[in-house]
């Protein structure tokens, strides 16, 4: 079945079973392999993307459900002010270790910052607890989110 998608500001058509998880459409049909497969059961967060401005686990979302909605993946994160702040903070604090979970971490962090521009530690813990990191980079992730919030404040102050 042909399904129209709006991925990273591009109108695309894919011919897939409508029940196919979005993750596999992104990776196998569209070649957007920045989004990672972790558990396949929405339990680790590695596959997080944005759909309609909300973080979702793409491994548990049928592609039918996201037809016509704006989908953003890690490849397009730096096209938004919040996404750029997240990427800069991640680089400054050298957050990544093995890196597998980090696309999902960044997408969840950007989702949080777009709704809570100056999150507390508690806000961060609540929002990020569905994103697992087996390298244990959690303290750096938290620090990077605070740093991204600072960068966003600086950006807002200049404009």
């Amino acid at each position: 079945m042909e399904i129209k998608l709006q991925v990273n500001d591009e109108e695309l058509r894919v011919d897939v079973d409508p029940a196919t998880p979005l993750l596999w459409v992104l990776r196998e049909e569209l070649g957007l392999t920045g989004t990672k497969y972790g558990c396949g059961r929405a339990q680790c967060g590695a596959c997080t993307v944005h759909v309609g401005g909300e973080a979702v686990r793409s491994c548990s979302y049928p592609v039918r459900k996201v037809a016509g909605q704006k989908i953003t993946t890690i490849e397009f994160l730096d096209q938004s002010v919040v996404g750029r702040a997240v990427e800069q903070a991640w680089l400054e604090l050298d957050v990544v270790q093995c890196g597998w979970c980090q696309p999902g971490q960044c997408m969840s962090a950007a989702d949080l910052l777009s709704k809570v521009p100056a999150p507390s530690d508690g806000d961060i813990d609540l929002a990020m607890r569905g994103n697992l990191c087996r390298c244990g980079t959690y303290p750096r992730i938290r620090a990077a989110i605070h740093r991204a919030a600072e960068l966003l404040r600086d950006t807002a102050g200049r404009s």
Binding site: A19, P21, G40, R41, A42, Q43, T48, E54, A55, V56, R57, C59, S60, Y61, P62, K65, S108, D111, L112, K115, V116, D123, L126, A127, M128, R129, G130
Partner: protein, 209 residues
């Protein structure tokens, strides 16, 4: 005077075991007998009508479904949902949030779509029931009272309540839960039939055991 006498003598008036399903009628229906619950101790003094007995019996089976993990996991009395047939707290520390849909970054819709996807359950408008609809720890009578109270049931009259139980897609999910989850002990059709019978016979709140 009469009240005082009844309060002294009511233990002598205890019904035989077979009458233990005595039920107080709903204030929001037009039951055949208007028993004044506040003036009569539960289990005594009033002989239930056949309809009341039927209504109470039907509701006890309805209550078994309402207490099944498929229903109760998302009708908790606390701040978090439960999951699985063992009713474990929802993994990842998921919490209710201000609107019963979770918190920023961890919304119900972050993982649950409108259909089951492999092990991840999903159905339309997946969310926690509001605290007014918390069912954990309620007796049969309290459950029935809760269901009938528009202030607690989402402003539903009994017909809307029946429609919700019989036709709502999230309710229906309980019988198609995906993964290895068990459905409630009776079919959805039988559940709906029992809700209908409970309503049509007075929607009583079963007292006692």
């Amino acid at each position: 005077m009469t009240r005082s006498l009844v309060s002294r003598l009511w233990p002598l008036l205890l019904l035989p075991a077979g009458w233990a399903v005595w039920a107080a009628p709903s204030a929001s229906t037009t039951p055949p007998v208007n028993h004044a619950e506040a003036e009569v101790p539960a289990g005594a003094a009033v002989v239930p009508t056949p309809d009341e007995l039927r209504s109470a019996a039907a509701f006890r089976k309805v209550a078994e479904v309402l207490r099944h993990p498929r229903c109760l996991n998302c009708h908790p009395a606390g701040n978090f949902p439960r999951q699985g047939d063992r009713r474990s707290p929802h993994m990842m520390g998921v919490i209710r949030g201000a609107d019963d849909h979770g918190v920023v970054g961890m919304r119900c819709s972050t993982c649950h779509s409108d259909q089951n996807v492999d092990e991840v359950p999903g159905a339309p408008h997946w969310a926690l029931a509001p605290l007014s609809m918390a069912w954990e720890g309620l007796s049969d009578a309290e459950l029935a009272d809760s269901l009938k109270d528009p202030a607690r049931n989402g402003q539903r009259d009994l017909e809307k309540l029946y429609d919700h139980m019989a036709n709502d897609k999230l309710v229906a999910w309980a019988w198609n839960p995906g993964g290895s989850r068990l459905p409630p002990p009776i079919s959805h059709a039988e559940f709906a039939r029992l809700v209908r019978e409970w309503i049509d016979t007075g929607a009583v709140s079963p007292r006692g055991k």
